[in-house]
C-alpha cells in the first residue's frame, strides 16, 4: 500500500527527461542554435533583465536613498574617482547619483511597466479575439470595428490620451503613486488590438476544425472549449506578437516618460533618465545621457530580434 503513491512517479520522471530531450531535438532549438544573432540577442536581453531584477542586491549604490547621496560627487566623469573620493565606473549625474545604479533601477521600472502592459494587452486582446472569432456576429463586428479604428491611430497617441484622461480622473494627491499603474493601463489599452486581430483570425480557422465540433457535440461548455482547446492552438502567433509588443511597450514607456508624462521623477525609468541627461548635453556631460540611451536601445533591439527570430522559427512556411 505504501508503495502505491510512489509508483506512478517513476513514469512521470521518465516522461520529463524524454520531453526535455524532444525539446532539445525540436526545430525551435535547432533554429536557435543556428542563429548567432539570436544567441547574442538573448544573452544581452538576459543580462539586462538580470541586472534590472537584481538591482537592489547588485547595484553599487542606492541612488534613491538621500542619506547616501553626496552632492560633492556630482558630475563625476566615467571611470574615475569623484571629488569626495568614491569610484564611479559610469560617472554620476548632477545630484551625485551613480549612473550605473540609476540605469539598473531605471531598467527595473522600464521592464516592469513593459512586461505588465504587454501582459495586460495580451490578456485583453486574446480574450476579446477569442470571443470575436468564436461567437462571430454582432460581437465580432463590434470588437473588430473598435480594434480597426484603434489600429489606424499610432499607439503612442492613444496611450497619451488615455494617460491624460486617467490623470484627470485621479485625485491630485494620489497621482504620484498611481502614475505607474496609469502608465501600464495606457500602454496596455493602446496595444490590445494587435493581439485581438490575430487571435480572432486564428480562432475562426480553428473553430471550423473537427476537434472543436467534436467538443461542441459532447456538450462541453463554450468557455472550456475556448480555453482548453482553441487557446493552445492560437498561442504561437500570440507569443510572437507578445515579444515584439514587449519591445514596443518598452519604447512607448520610454517615450512617454521622456515627454514628461510618464513615471514620476522620484521613480525614474530609462526614458526619464534620458530626459534628465538631455539637459546636460550642451555642457559636455555626455555620460548622463549616453549610458541610459544605450541601455534602452540594447534592450529594445535585443527583444525585437528575439521576436523576429520567434516569428521565423514558429512559421514553417518560411523555412
Amino acid at each position: 500500500m505504501t508503495d502505491l503513491p510512489h509508483s506512478p512517479e517513476q513514469p512521470v520522471v521518465a516522461a520529463k527527461t524524454s520531453r526535455w530531450r524532444t525539446f532539445l531535438k525540436s526545430d525551435i532549438v535547432w533554429s536557435y542554435r543556428h542563429s548567432p544573432v539570436t544567441i547574442v540577442a538573448s544573452i544581452v536581453a538576459l543580462v539586462l533583465i538580470l541586472m534590472a531584477v537584481l538591482a537592489p542586491w547588485i547595484a553599487p549604490y542606492n541612488p534613491f536613498n538621500p542619506a547616501t547621496l553626496n552632492l560633492m560627487d556630482g558630475f563625476t566623469p566615467p571611470n574615475s574617482n569623484s571629488f569626495a573620493g568614491s569610484y564611479f565606473i559610469l560617472g554620476t549625474d548632477n545630484q551625485g547619483r551613480d549612473v550605473l545604479s540609476t540605469i539598473m533601477y531605471g531598467s527595473r521600472v522600464s521592464l516592469f511597466v513593459g512586461f505588465s502592459a504587454t501582459l495586460f494587452a495580451m490578456v485583453m486582446g486574446v480574450g476579446l479575439g477569442l470571443v470575436a472569432g468564436y461567437l462571430g456576429g454582432i460581437w465580432d463586428a463590434v470588437i473588430m470595428r473598435v480594434a480597426d479604428v484603434q489600429l489606424s491611430f499610432p499607439a503612442i497617441l492613444i496611450a497619451l490620451l488615455i494617460f491624460g484622461v486617467a490623470r484627470g480622473l485621479i485625485p491630485p494627491n494620489q497621482q504620484e503613486g498611481a502614475a505607474i499603474w496609469v502608465l501600464i493601463l495606457a500602454i496596455g489599452l493602446a496595444n490590445w488590438a494587435q493581439f485581438a486581430r490575430t487571435v480572432r483570425g486564428a480562432t475562426m480557422v480553428e473553430r471550423q476544425k473537427d476537434y472543436v465540433s467534436a467538443a461542441r457535440i459532447l456538450g462541453v461548455n463554450p468557455f472550456i472549449i475556448l480555453l482548453r482547446h482553441v487557446l493552445p492552438n492560437v498561442m504561437g502567433p500570440v507569443l510572437v506578437i507578445g515579444t515584439i509588443g514587449l519591445a514596443l511597450a518598452i519604447i512607448e514607456e520610454a517615450t512617454l516618460s521622456y515627454l514628461g508624462v510618464g513615471v514620476p521623477p522620484t521613480q525614474p525609468s530609462l526614458g526619464t533618465l534620458i530626459r534628465i541627461g538631455q539637459q546636460f548635453l550642451f555642457s559636455g556631460e555626455w555620460w548622463i545621457l549616453l549610458f541610459p540611451a544605450v541601455t534602452l536601445v540594447l534592450l529594445a533591439l535585443s527583444v525585437n530580434l528575439l521576436g523576429d527570430w520567434l516569428r521565423d522559427a514558429l512559421n514553417p512556411k518560411l523555412r
Partner: protein
C-alpha cells in the same frame, strides 16, 4: 461613383461623431470644468451661476449636441492652462506643424523612392546591405533618441544647425512661415529629418519589394527582349507600377506623421500643435485635449477619404465592384 463617395462620406461622419462623443465625455467628465475655471477663492453661488451659464445643468444629449454644434464652428472652449480660446491656440500653432510634416514627407518620399530603386536594382551590392541594415536599426531606435543624436552631432559637436525653435518666421497675415528666412530653413532641417526617418524606411522597403516583384514579371522580360535600354525599362516601365501602393502608404502615413510630430516637436521645442498637446496632457488641460483629439481624427478621416477616392479612380476593379452593388 457618387454612391461610393456618399457611402464613404457617411461612414466618415459616423466615425467623426464617435470621436466627438469620446471627446465630449473627456471634456465633460474629466476634472471639474467649473472649479478649473473659477479657481480657489470662489463662492458656491459663483459655481452655481457658472454651471448654469456653461449649460452643465442641461440634459446629457442637449449638452452633447451643443458640444458638436460648437465644434463644427471651431469652438472648443478656453484652455485652462493658457486662458485663451483653444481654436485660436491651435490655429496659431498649426502652420508650424504642417510645415514640419510637409518637409519631412518630402524628404521621406524623395529619399525613400531613390534608395528603394537603388537597393532593388543592386540586390547583391555591399552598399545595399549597408542601407538595409541601417534602415533596420533606424526603425528600432525610438524617435526621440534619433532627435537627440542629431542634436548632439549637428548642434553640439559641429555647431552648424540650431537645436531648438523655428528660427525667424515671416507673417503672411494668416500663416506664419519659416520657409522664407535662412534661420527658419536651417531650423527645420533636423526636426524634419528626425520625423522623416520612420516613413523613409517604410517607403524604401515598400518600393524595393514592389520593384523586385515587378522586375520579375513577363512584361519587363518582354521589354528586355525588345532591346529597350535599362533606363527605359527601370524608370519608364517598372517604376510606374510600383507607385500606386507607395502613394497610398504615404497618404495614410501622413496622419501618423502629425501624431509622431508630438515627439519630434518636444525634442526640438518646435512650437507646433503636438507640443501644445503634450503640455496639455501633463497638466490635464481638458479642452485642448478634446480639441486635439477631434482635430487628429479629422485629419485621419479626411486623408482616408481622399486615399479611398484616389484608389477608386486608379483601380478599375473597385469601380466594377461598386457597380454590381457590393
Amino acid at each position: 461613383m457618387l454612391a461610393f463617395i456618399a457611402r464613404r462620406l457617411f461612414q466618415s461622419v459616423i466615425v467623426m461623431l464617435a470621436v466627438a462623443f469620446i471627446a465630449f465625455m473627456v471634456f465633460r467628465y474629466v476634472g471639474d470644468p467649473v472649479s478649473s475655471m473659477l479657481g480657489q477663492d470662489s463662492t458656491l453661488a459663483d459655481h452655481a451661476a457658472l454651471r448654469e451659464r456653461l449649460g452643465l445643468n442641461e440634459p446629457f444629449y442637449i449638452q452633447f449636441f451643443s458640444f458638436v454644434g460648437n465644434a463644427l464652428q471651431g469652438q472648443f472652449g478656453i484652455s485652462y492652462r493658457l486662458q485663451q480660446p483653444v481654436s485660436q491656440l491651435i490655429m496659431e500653432r498649426l502652420p508650424a506643424t504642417i510645415e514640419l510634416a510637409f518637409a519631412s514627407a518630402s524628404i521621406a518620399l524623395v529619399l525613400g523612392v531613390v534608395l528603394g530603386i537603388y537597393t532593388a536594382l543592386r540586390p547583391r551590392a555591399f552598399s545595399t546591405g549597408v542601407i538595409m541594415t541601417a534602415s533596420l536599426i533606424g526603425v528600432s531606435l525610438p524617435t526621440f533618441l534619433i532627435g537627440i543624436g542629431l542634436i548632439y552631432v549637428f548642434a553640439v559637436e559641429l555647431k552648424v544647425l540650431p537645436s531648438f525653435g523655428r528660427g525667424e518666421v515671416v507673417d503672411l497675415g494668416w500663416w506664419r512661415t519659416g520657409f522664407l528666412t535662412e534661420s527658419g530653413l536651417r531650423s527645420i532641417i533636423l526636426p524634419a529629418i528626425t520625423l522623416s526617418l520612420f516613413q523613409l524606411t517604410l517607403i524604401m522597403r515598400l518600393v524595393r519589394a514592389e520593384m523586385l516583384e515587378v522586375l520579375r514579371t513577363d512584361y519587363i522580360r518582354f521589354a528586355k527582349a525588345r532591346g529597350l535600354s535599362q533606363r527605359a525599362i527601370n524608370f519608364g516601365h517598372a517604376l510606374k507600377n510600383t507607385m500606386v501602393p507607395v502613394i497610398t502608404i504615404t497618404g495614410l502615413q501622413l496622419g501618423s506623421v502629425i501624431a509622431f510630430a508630438i515627439i519630434t516637436e518636444t525634442v526640438f521645442q518646435w512650437p507646433g500643435v503636438g507640443s501644445l498637446f503634450v503640455n496639455s496632457v501633463a497638466v490635464v488641460d481638458v479642452p485642448v485635449m478634446a480639441a486635439y483629439l477631434v482635430f487628429v481624427a479629422l485629419v485621419f478621416v479626411v486623408i482616408n477619404l481622399i486615399v479611398d477616392i484616389l484608389y477608386f479612380i486608379v483601380d478599375p476593379r473597385l469601380r466594377d465592384g461598386a457597380k454590381s452593388g457590393r
